[in-house]
């Protein structure tokens, strides 16, 4: 599905240069479930953002579905992104002023999909994640777990092939965290590629492979034996 080759990311601010990623080589197959772990500040989010094309690498190659997208401009990246990649964030990032339904629909709004079809697909994913009964509610009226389910629904409503999740369970209690992990596992079983940053070894266990980052380097990659 994607391949990072010698990929580095350097952040320059006025005074300091931070090498957030240092010659990272990562390959992710289609249909994989990958967990990224590592201490705070080691570059996990940076890696995920680059994979998600929200940010561009400073050097190195990023081959996405056979295309080297490393040098692409924002408009091009945005186009590839909206076709293929869904996002789940630690803090849900729902829009407070929109209802559950509208929040999910937002992911289809920029895809030129007719309104009737949008409604259908939104209804379908809401069923799937079990929040159909909350369709007209505002995010602030939902619990954290429910909000994250809305975010999951939003990430998959556009039939994205890959979901990037940055600490999706970070703000949830263990019961709700578990719920979300099961949902991701289910999606993965249906064929969605999932890349997830997590601090929880238990949650990392849902993944087939774990990439350990330290100080911008990939230190180990553990492959969990298929059961």
């Amino acid at each position: 599905m994607l391949k990072l080759h010698n990929l580095s990311k350097v952040y320059r601010t006025d005074e300091v240069e931070t090498a957030a990623l240092n010659s990272v080589n990562v390959e992710i197959e289609s249909g994989e479930f990958v967990a990224i772990m590592g201490p705070s500040g080691c570059g996990k989010s940076t890696l995920l953002n680059i994979i998600g094309m929200l940010d561009s690498p400073s050097s190195g190659d990023y081959i996405f579905m056979g295309e080297n997208v490393a040098g692409y401009n924002e408009a091009k990246l945005s186009n590839i992104r909206k076709q293929n990649i869904g996002f789940i964030f630690q803090s849900f990032n729902l829009i407070d002023e929109l209802t559950v339904e509208e929040n999910i629909e937002l992911a289809l709004l920029y895809h030129n999909i007719p309104a009737s079809e949008r409604r259908e697909r939104v209804a379908h994913v809401m069923d799937k994640v079990g929040i159909a009964h909350r369709a007209k509610h505002m995010p602030s009226q939902l619990s954290g777990g429910q909000q994250q389910r809305v975010a999951v629904a939003r990430a998959v409503v556009g039939d994205q092939a890959m979901i990037l999740a940055d600490e999706p369970t970070g703000n949830l209690d263990s019961a709700h965290g578990q719920e979300v992990m099961e949902m991701l596992q289910q999606l993965n079983a249906e064929g969605t590629t999932i890349v997830m940053v997590t601090h929880s070894p238990a949650h990392a266990d849902y993944a087939r492979r774990t990439i350990n980052l330290f100080d911008g380097h990939v230190v180990t990659e553990n492959l969990r034996a298929a059961e």
Binding site: G52, L54, S78, Q90, D96, L106, A107, L109, Y110
Partner: protein, 826 residues
């Protein structure tokens, strides 16, 4: 504690530079505009309040009710009215005086020039508390060869010499006499409707042969003022005007038997203090203001201030989101609600004070230009208690208004809610209120744009209105009726005609847009039922229609070789004789006389007195369209163009080519022929345009202040837009992650701010259109009302464009930002 507030307040001011700048600048501009307008309004209201007797002084206005015409109102009255007032109202009126202006030719020190001089009655001294600098005013106004002048006049003509005792030779009508300067008074302040630089006692003997000035009851040339006796109410006088008219007006011989003078003339009184603001009619000494203008500008001042206050309030509520945390922490620390309200009000008032300081700087910077523009000296006085009280009151008002809502809203936050969730602390109520206020701001702005456009449009319309005659490349040489030129004016005309570039020339009584009223009554021979009909009159010569290029609807113009053309002279005729002649009239005359179509009117006859009891039957030989010769601002009257041997005061020259060269040549002819008469001229197109000077000034001022209003509104919108963008960064980030392009985001933000502007349009259009329709009503010739529709749409588009430009740049910046920044720190 207090110190803590102050330092927080100042730190906030500095930390939120954009917010503070927008608020302070907006308020400063708003306050400055408000102060400037208030200075103007107070000045308008101060007119003539300085006279000692201001409260008991009134002016006599005259309305002529001419059948078939709009009533003609003048603020002047007839010469004999003075004596009549004194006799009839001997119980009520203490003194009466007249002011009648002339432009005598003055010889002094080998120089010849013309200056405006007012002939007045000695009673002026007792009525108007003139500030005498030198000489004896009372004695001077009781002597027919003494001139009283103001300081400027004295300075202009006598320089450093002592004016008292100087002698000038004045020539007016048949009189040439030496006048000694007997007194000098301080120039009248600009805030008086009276405007005279020199006074001479009226000696009616000088005008024996010119009875229209002071003796005729049907000729109005005097501003007549009267002073009520102590304790007398003006109502007593007002109640008796009709009886006064019928008792005192000695005109029975001139009007139809069975009618009364009061059928034709209505007198009314106007308080001196009302003259400036309540224009009553023609004939003021100088252009007056208008209460409508004062009200319009007061309203604009209020509106600008309102817009600035709304900015203040909107930005403050928007910002409250960001300060929720501070408030919550203060509350947790035990601050009471009252303390917090005090803190926020204090901050708001501090900001308003800074705004005021900057506003005063702006006032000081612009006042000289503003005063220049208004043509008066206005000063902003810091020691004036009222002004300062008003300003400080205003600041307290603005500060409290601007601080109140956020103070209450912020201090009412539940700290737990604010601290727990990182949610926007805004309630939907405050968003709604803010939107409503933005709608209000733009309603005002759009309304002002429409009003400015209409006022400006009406001015342009008036200036470009086709008067019905040629106005470009037309020169009017004045003073040709003055002694010294009068007897050789025909020769002068012939000399001018010989010049290169002169196409036509015509001697006339009046000139375009002079507004003079001259009327003559005619009868229709053989139709006694028609009675005597009063018609407007212009005295012309044989070249008038060619010179002014006036087309004919029917018939022909006067012709040189037809001896019978024109109105005959009474010379040599015997009393009661009826002479023959011809006349050209306008279409309204035909309608008034009931002569049918213009073609049918040709050959019909009107009978008119030509002096000394002699009458003439004049055959209608030509009908011209209704032209605005008298004024572009009056409804065209039925008018006759009489060719007779009457007095002619102006020579109109129809020319082509360079006017400067031509003027030089004409002037040199003038100097050779009449060196003792001042040479004076005007261009017809300029004279017509000058009629719209008041509208021009109004349009300029309205335009300037509406621009300010809009600028302040936009400043607020800009501030709001940046707050909104800030508040929505997370949302924008999410949308971008989900695939929204920069264009999508910009469109989203712009649409958000277009909505209130669009709603504002819907409110502003009908209001502005209605208001401007009312305003236009007062112009007999005005813009078509349908033009209001496109003007409204254009105003709406302008407002929308301004809003877009204001919001767009910011939106683009926000939209281009990398979304992960917005989402990172959640």
């Amino acid at each position: 504690m207090f110190q803590n507030y102050i330092s927080v307040a100042f730190r906030n001011l500095i930390k939120h530079k954009l917010y503070s700048a927008i608020n302070i600048i907006g308020l400063a501009v708003g306050l400055a505009a408000c102060v400037l307008i208030t200075l103007f309004v107070r000045d308008e209201l101060s007119y003539d309040t300085f006279w000692d007797e201001a409260d008991s002084l009134y002016r006599m206005n005259t309305t002529f009710n001419v059948p078939g015409r709009e009533p003609f109102v003048t603020v002047m009255a007839m010469g004999p009215a003075k004596g009549a007032l004194e006799r009839y109202f001997s119980e009520e009126i203490e003194a009466v005086t007249r002011f009648n202006n002339e432009w005598p030719v003055i010889q002094y020190d080998d120089k010849v020039f013309s200056e405006e001089v007012y002939f007045t009655d000695p009673t002026t001294v007792d009525m108007f508390s003139l500030d005498v600098i030198a000489g004896d005013l009372k004695a001077s106004l009781n002597d027919n060869s003494t001139l009283v002048v103001n300081e400027s006049f004295a300075k202009k003509h006598f320089g450093d010499r002592d004016p008292i005792g100087q002698v000038m030779t004045l020539t007016y009508y048949a009189t040439t006499r030496d006048f000694r300067i007997g007194a000098v008074y301080k120039d009248l302040p600009h805030n008086s409707v009276l405007d005279f630089q020199a006074l001479i006692m009226i000696d009616e003997a000088d005008f024996e042969n010119f009875p229209w000035e002071f003796q005729h009851w049907f000729s109005v040339n005097n501003n007549i003022f009267f002073k009520l006796k102590d304790g007398v109410s003006i109502d007593t006088v007002n109640a008796r005007w009709k009886d006064f008219t019928d008792t005192m007006m000695d005109v029975r011989a001139q009007i139809e038997p069975g009618t009364n003078p009061s059928d034709f003339v209505t007198f009314s009184s106007q308080a001196l203090l009302d003259i400036q603001l309540y224009p009553a009619g023609d004939g003021e000494m100088k252009p007056t203001g208008d209460i409508k203008t004062v009200m319009i500008f007061s309203a604009i001042a209020g509106l600008i201030l309102l817009i600035a206050c709304i900015n203040f309030m909107n930005l403050a509520t928007a910002k409250s989101t960001q300060r929720a945390r501070e408030v919550a922490i203060r509350k947790v620390m035990g601050a009471r609600r009252g303390q917090l309200v005090t803190q926020f009000l204090g901050e708001s008032i501090l900001l308003a004070l800074v705004g005021l300081a900057l506003g005063i700087v702006l006032v000081e910077l612009t006042l000289p230009f503003y005063g220049d523009f208004l043509g008066r000296e206005l000063t902003f006085s810091y020691t004036d208690g009222i002004t300062m009280a008003i300003l400080l009151g205003l600041i307290a008002f603005v500060g409290v208004l601007g601080g109140f809502y956020p103070a209450i809203a912020l201090s009412g936050f539940l700290p737990a809610r604010v601290l727990k969730a990182n949610k926007s602390a805004e309630t939907s109520g405050s968003v709604l209120l803010r939107n409503a206020l933005v709608v209000l701001q733009f309603t005002i702005s759009i309304g002002l744009i429409v009003s400015t456009a209409v006022v400006y449009g009406q001015m342009v319309y008036g200036q470009n209105m086709d008067p019905g005659f040629k106005k470009d490349n037309m020169l009017v040489i004045r003073n040709v009726g003055e002694k010294g030129m009068l007897h050789q004016q025909e020769a002068f005309k012939q000399e001018v005609l010989r010049l290169n570039g002169v196409n036509h020339a015509s001697l006339t009584m009046g000139r375009p847009a002079d507004g003079n009223e001259s009327n003559t009554s005619v009868e229709i021979p053989g139709d006694p039922d028609a009675g005597s009909i009063l018609l407007g009159r212009q005295g012309v010569d044989v070249d008038f229609f060619d010179t002014y290029q006036i087309p004919f609807v029917a018939g022909r113009k006067y012709e040189e070789d037809r001896a019978q053309d024109g109105a005959p002279s009474s010379d040599g005729a015997t009393d009661g004789e009826i002479l023959q002649g011809s006349i050209v009239v306008n279409e309204r005359t035909i309608a008034r006389l009931g002569f049918g179509s213009p073609e049918e009117a040709i050959g019909r006859v009107v009978r008119m007195g030509v002096g000394d009891g002699v009458q003439a039957d004049l055959e209608v030989i030509g009908v011209v369209p209704d032209i605005n010769f008298q004024s572009l601002k009056q409804i065209i009257r039925p008018e006759m163009y009489v060719m007779d041997d009457g007095w002619r005061g102006n020579l109109t020259v129809n020319f082509s080519g360079d006017p400067q060269a031509l003027l030089a040549q004409i002037e040199s002819i003038w100097q050779q022929m009449a060196p003792t008469v001042p040479f004076s001229y005007e261009y017809v197109d300029q004279a017509l345009a000058e009629e719209f000077e008041a509208e021009q000034a109004l349009a300029t001022m309205l335009g300037a202040f509406s621009m300010l209003a809009i600028a302040v509104a936009c400043l607020g919108l800009y501030g709001l837009a940046s707050f909104t963008a800030e508040r929505r960064t997370k949302e924008i980030g999410i949308r971008k992650v989900l695939g929204a392009s920069v264009v999508d985001i910009v469109r989203l933000l712009i649409w958000q701010f277009s909505k209130p502007v669009l709603v504002a349009n819907l409110i502003a259009w009908p209001l502005a259109a209605y208001g401007m329709m009312m305003w236009l009503e007062s112009f007999p010739y005005r813009l078509d009302t349908w033009l209001l529709a496109p003007l409204c749409v254009v105003a709406g588009l302008i407002a929308l464009t301004i809003a877009w430009v204001t919001v767009g740049g910011n939106a683009a910046k926000v939209a281009r930002a990398n979304p992960i920044k917005a989402l990172r720190y959640e």
